[in-house]
């Protein structure tokens, strides 16, 4: 290690985000009126600038800095762009809801920016220590966001629950890291990879450490059996926060999963593969079967996201760059359909407040046909009906899994997809064929309508045109793990 100033070029986006977040905090504090809308607009601008710097200035070459603790490569750039899109749309969609519930405080966009910074650090982690710091930065922002509506019991309860269980999972992760460090004497991914390659397999302590790290990471992606927090937190948190939870942090945690399993522990694939197979199968089963009994649409989305994490983990099981490529395609479409669904949930309200019960959707088609059609598209897409975007995501994953020889895994995936299709289709049936139970109020928000429209278009059969460019970009991202 040297005493010279480290190369700051690869971390430019992170520096911009960090400094920008602090500046936005200043703007918010010294603007007594209208702080929220100004800070929101500026934070959107900040995210766009970060994206520009990330793409044009940093680029996709593999660069390592800070004495090997930070890595920027095509995989990192790709996932960071997805995270930026998720954060951007979450801030765009949050405005009307927060104003409506009198919680339009300027800290909201600032916390989302800081969470984004943490996710960037996770995606670019090249040592177990920078991994942990990034993870904590992201998690801590999310705990606060979950409890953002502090005068509502449900929201504070979800924040506290998330905090306690998150701290527990951090403890497990740290314990695993300490065991790994005790075995190898290093936390650096490159050194770890070299040492573990030499060490070979069959070391009990090493395996135990890896399992603890897997448990910690599985909690962050809410994979079964570490999913208990997800439905309660998703239901209790304010809906814009839920939509953020279901998108950007999921992508970041899955990227971290790939980074850790295929980087330092690539040679221990025999040890972690079975664990990830179990996580994947259990998540798919719970996501499909428990969701059947849900009546609250936010809880339903929580189980839906657990199921989708199962499919995503299936792509990681393979442990090759082909799996990463499939995962990258999958995440793009997962992002668009989830954002779209939550946009639709955010734009429905009746006289008593927001629509959250599935049965309240009855008769939406007569009230607001465009919205009903959009939701139908999202549901078909989430279920993976052919010709819609969700189908292509699943298709790529199943294809990669079958080519790698894990046929039973793919069969379970298809079966759970069919089971899952039932509850997605039930929503469509309620919207189009049931009699209206409650009257909907118009919630006019141009930004929200715009988000729903664009995501619905992306998920519609028009997505056929998107397949080629998305697949090409995913292949580019997976280059980081080739060879």
């Amino acid at each position: 290690m040297t005493n010279m100033v480290p190369n700051l070029m690869p971390v430019m986006p992170e520096i911009i985000l960090a400094v920008g977040a602090m500046l936005l905090l200043m703007v918010g504090v010294f603007r007594p009126t209208k702080a929220f809308s100004e800070v929101s607009t500026l934070s959107l601008l900040l995210l766009v600038i970060t994206g520009g710097v990330l793409y044009f200035y940093v680029g996709g070459e593999t660069q390592i800095t800070f004495g090997g603790m930070f890595i920027s490569d095509s995989f990192a750039v790709y996932t960071k762009v997805l995270i930026l899109i998720g954060s951007f749309l979450s801030i765009v969609m949050a405005g009307p809801y927060l104003k409506d519930h009198m919680i339009d405080r300027f800290e909201f966009p600032v916390l989302i920016i800081l969470a984004t910074l943490g996710m960037f650090a996770m995606v670019s982690a090249n040592s177990l220590m920078s991994l942990y710091v990034g993870l904590e930065l992201q998690s801590l922002s999310l705990y606060v966001l979950a409890a953002f509506n502090r005068d509502r019991n449900r929201s504070t309860e979800s924040g506290l629950k998330y905090f306690v269980l998150g701290a527990l999972s951090s403890g497990m992760l740290l314990y695993g890291i300490s065991l790994i460090y005790g075995f190898t004497g290093s936390v650096d991914f490159d050194v770890l990879a070299l040492t573990l390659e030499k060490a070979g397999s069959g070391h009990l302590g090493l395996t135990l450490g890896l399992v603890f790290i897997l448990a910690g990471l599985a909690f962050k992606v809410s994979a079964v059996p570490f999913h208990m927090w997800a439905p309660d937190v998703y239901e209790g948190a304010p809906t814009p926060v839920t939509s953020f939870f279901a998108t950007a942090p999921k992508i970041a945690a899955l990227a971290l999963f790939v980074r850790v399993m295929m980087g330092p522990f690539a040679d221990m694939i025999g040890e972690w593969q079975q664990v990830v197979i179990f996580l994947s199968v259990a998540s798919m089963l719970v996501g499909a079967f428990v969701a059947l009994m849900q009546t609250n649409i936010k809880r339903l989305m929580a189980y839906s996201s657990i199921g989708h994490v199962g499919y995503a983990l299936m792509a990681i099981v393979i442990g090759t760059s082909a799996g990463v490529e499939a995962l990258m395609v999958y995440l793009v479409f997962y992002l668009t359909m989830t954002i779209g669904t939550f946009g639709a949930i955010l734009s429905m309200r009746h006289s008593d407040g927001m629509v959250e019960d599935i049965n309240d959707l009855a008769g939406l088609s007569t009230n607001n046909l465009p919205l009903a059609i959009s939701i139908a598209i999202f549901m078909f897409s989430l279920a993976g009906i052919p010709l819609l975007a969700g189908f292509f995501g699943k298709y790529y994953v199943f294809l990669a899994v079958v080519e790698a020889g894990f046929v039973p895994l793919a069969v379970i995936g298809v079966v759970t997809s069919v089971v899952g299709a039932f509850y997605y289709l039930r929503i469509i049936k309620i919207m189009f064929f049931d009699d209206a139970a409650v009257s909907f109020e118009k919630m006019e928000s141009r930004s929200l309508n715009w988000v729903i429209g664009v995501t619905a278009l992306i998920n519609s059969p028009a997505s056929v045109f998107l397949i080629a460019p998305v697949a090409a970009m995913a292949a580019w991202a997976a280059l980081s793990f080739a060879g």
Binding site: G134, L140, R150, G182, T195, L196, K198, H203
Partner: protein, 212 residues
């Protein structure tokens, strides 16, 4: 050498015993006091290992700040610890079973522990040679040059913690009188008082009410 060994066993015994007393003391205030004793003996162990900076840090930060704060919280919050302990016996069997299983598993892991190849070289890589520079200088070099990224990241985490505490607890209360420095500086003598000729035999009638 014997003195060092003796001190080690002394500090270690005190640390373990007071650690047990922290969780078994009936009175929570006593628990905190035992905790402070644990910190002191841990600091002694650090000194024995040559990590004098961390030892001092433990005394200043943990004993001086955290434990005393803890003591205040315990004394002021008036938590009913008897109520918290309810159900202890009910959950004891299952808790003890799980703990025992975990303990045996950990014991097996530790008993069969092997070190990986190159572990000594890997572990020694980041720190400068012992004996060249003092503890404090070595820590400073590592934290502010090699690990500056993590140091800054930890700083961001603390910032989030601060924002979070403010977001979740700060309330704007109406009717609170605050000091406004600008108003105080902008205030002129004419606003505050005036000279009045007092006629002999008469008092001053109150002229203005809004000044002062």
């Amino acid at each position: 050498m014997e003195l060092i060994a003796f001190s080690f066993y002394l500090f270690a015994t005190i640390a373990v015993v007071s650690g047990v007393l922290v969780i078994s003391a009936k009175n929570p205030v006593h628990s905190v006091l035992w905790l402070i004793l644990t910190f002191f003996s841990a600091a002694g162990l650090f000194v024995l290992m040559g990590a004098e900076f961390i030892a001092m840090l433990l005394i200043i930060v943990y004993v001086g700040a955290v434990a005393v704060l803890f003591l205040f919280v315990v004394m002021m919050l008036d938590i009913n610890f008897v109520e918290l302990r309810q159900g202890f016996l009910q959950y004891l069997p299952i808790g003890a079973t799980i703990t025992l299983i975990l303990f045996i598993e950990m014991g097996m892991v530790v008993a069969t522990w092997q070190l990986g190849p190159d572990v000594a070289a890997n572990a020694a890589a980041p720190s400068p040679a012992v004996g060249d520079i003092s503890n404090t200088a070595a820590l400073g070099q590592i934290i502010y040059t090699d690990y500056i990224y993590i140091f800054q990241g930890a700083g961001m985490i603390l910032l989030v913690a601060m924002i979070g505490a403010i977001v979740l607890t700060h309330r704007k209360r109406p009717g609170v009188k605050r000091q406004v420095v600008n108003d105080q500086v902008a205030r002129r003598p004419e606003d505050a008082f005036e000279l009045v000729d007092v006629a002999v035999g008469e008092g001053i009638t109150q002229r203005t009410q809004n000044k002062g």
